[in-house]
Symmetry: C2
Subunit: 226 residues, 2 copies
C-alpha cells in the first residue's frame, strides 16, 4: 500500500508535516518521499508541477489519486485506512464534533501565524507599515490566547480536542511546534507548552520531526514578544 | 433530529450557506435557525458568543455538540447522517481523492476573494496601496482561471469534483455564486458560469439562496475587471 504513495515535502512546513504524521499514525511507513528545498525553488520543479499546478508542497499521490491539500490528504488516509493504525476521527458524535471544530480552527491559527512570520516575505518593502505588523501580532496573540484557554479548560494530559490523539492533533500540533520554534514564550503560554511537550515525544511526531530543526534547534525569535 | 439543531447565520456568507446546503442535502429541514445581521453586529450578540468565542457566523449546535467551522459542520453532518439524503463523500478512492482535493482548494479561492472584496474593510486607509489592490486582483484572476481550467477538462454537466454533486460543491458553489454576484465576467469565465447555472437550480441551493440576494439581484461590481 504505502509503496504506491509518494510525498514531495519541505522540511518544517506544517502542512507537509501533517501528512507525514498521518502516514505514521496509519502505519503507512515505507511510502516514497522526496525532500525538496523551498530556497532552491524545487517546489516549482517538474515532478511537483506534474501533479500540482499550484507548485506547492506538500504534493501527494497514492496510485493515480492526487491530493495535495494537507487536510484533504489526511482525511483521505483516515478514510482509506480506517481500521489501520490510530483511529483519527472518533465514532462518538460529541467527540467527533470537538475534533472537527478544533481541526478547522487550526486554519485560522495558521493564517494568523503566516501574517506575522512571513510579513516581510509577503509584503513588498514599499507597502510595509509598522501599524500592520503591530495589528497582526495582536491578532496572533489573541488567537494563541484562545488556544491557551482551550487547553486550560481541559484535564491535564489532554490532547487538542479530546483525551487522546486525533486528527485535531495532526492538524494543530505542527502549528504549535512552529510557534515555539519561532520563539513563542513558554512562560506566557504554559498550557500550549505542556501540550507541545506531550505530543513532541509521540513516535509519529519524532519519526517525522523536521530534519533541519534537529541541526539548528532554535529558529528566529519573531514570536518572542507576543 | 433536525429540531435539536440551531444555526445562527448571515445572508450571503458562503460559510453559512455551505452548512445550509449540507442540511438540505442530508434531509435535515426543520432545524432551528436565526438570521442575524452583520451590519447590526449581531454576530457578537450573546447567543452567538455563548457557543462561539470568535463571535462569527455560522455558529452551529446539534444537541450539545458545537461545530462552528463550516467545513467541520458539513463533514460532521455527512458522518452523522451518512445514509440519509445525498451521499456527499464518495466511496471510491479515486472519487474521494478528487472531492477532498477540490473541497480544500476552495479555501484558497475564498482567501483570495476576501483579499479583493474586503480590501477596504480589512486594510486601514493609511495602509492601502494601489499596488496591493492590483496584486490581489491578479492573484484572484489566476486562481479563478485555475478553476475555469478544471471545469474545461471535465465532461459537460460535471460538478466541481466528479459527475455528480458532492461535498466539493457544498464548499465551492457558494464561493462561485458570490464571485458572480460581485460582477465576475461570464464571458471570461464561461465554464464557471455553466457550473453556476447548473448548480443554482438545485433544490438544496434554491431553498437556501441568500434572501437579500433575491431583493437586490446584483451586488457591487468589484470583480468586473478581473
Amino acid at each position: 500500500m504505502a509503496s504506491s504513495m509518494i510525498l514531495y515535502w519541505g522540511s518544517g512546513s506544517p502542512p507537509c508535516w501533517r501528512i507525514m504524521i498521518a502516514l505514521e499514525e496509519k502505519n503507512l511507513q515505507g511510502y516514497q518521499q522526496k525532500l525538496l528545498s523551498f530556497e532552491k525553488n524545487e517546489h516549482k520543479s517538474e515532478p511537483v508541477m506534474a501533479i500540482n499546478p499550484r507548485g506547492q508542497l506538500p504534493s501527494f499521490k497514492h496510485g493515480d489519486n492526487i491530493i495535495n491539500e494537507s487536510f484533504g490528504a489526511c482525511l483521505y488516509l483516515e478514510n482509506q485506512f480506517k481500521s489501520q493504525g490510530t483511529q483519527l476521527i472518533p465514532d462518538s458524535s460529541a467527540e467527533q464534533a470537538l475534533v472537527y471544530q478544533r481541526m478547522f480552527e487550526t486554519l485560522t491559527l495558521q493564517q494568523k501565524m503566516a501574517d506575522v512570520i512571513y510579513y516581510t516575505w509577503k509584503v513588498p518593502e514599499g507597502e510595509r507599515h509598522d501599524s500592520a505588523v503591530k495589528r497582526n501580532k495582536e491578532a496572533l496573540s489573541a488567537e494563541l490566547q484562545l488556544w491557551e484557554g482551550y487547553f486550560q479548560k481541559m484535564d491535564a494530559g489532554s490532547y487538542a480536542a479530546v483525551k487522546y490523539f486525533t486528527m485535531a492533533d495532526v492538524m494543530v500540533f505542527p502549528q504549535i511546534a512552529y510557534a515555539f520554534r519561532f520563539g513563542l514564550s513558554q512562560e506566557k503560554f504554559p498550557k500550549l507548552e505542556e501540550y507541545h511537550n506531550l505530543v513532541k515525544e509521540r513516535s509519529s511526531v519524532q519519526a517525522s520531526w523536521p530534519p533541519h530543526w534537529k541541526e539548528t534547534p532554535q529558529g528566529m525569535e519573531i514570536l518572542k514578544d507576543l
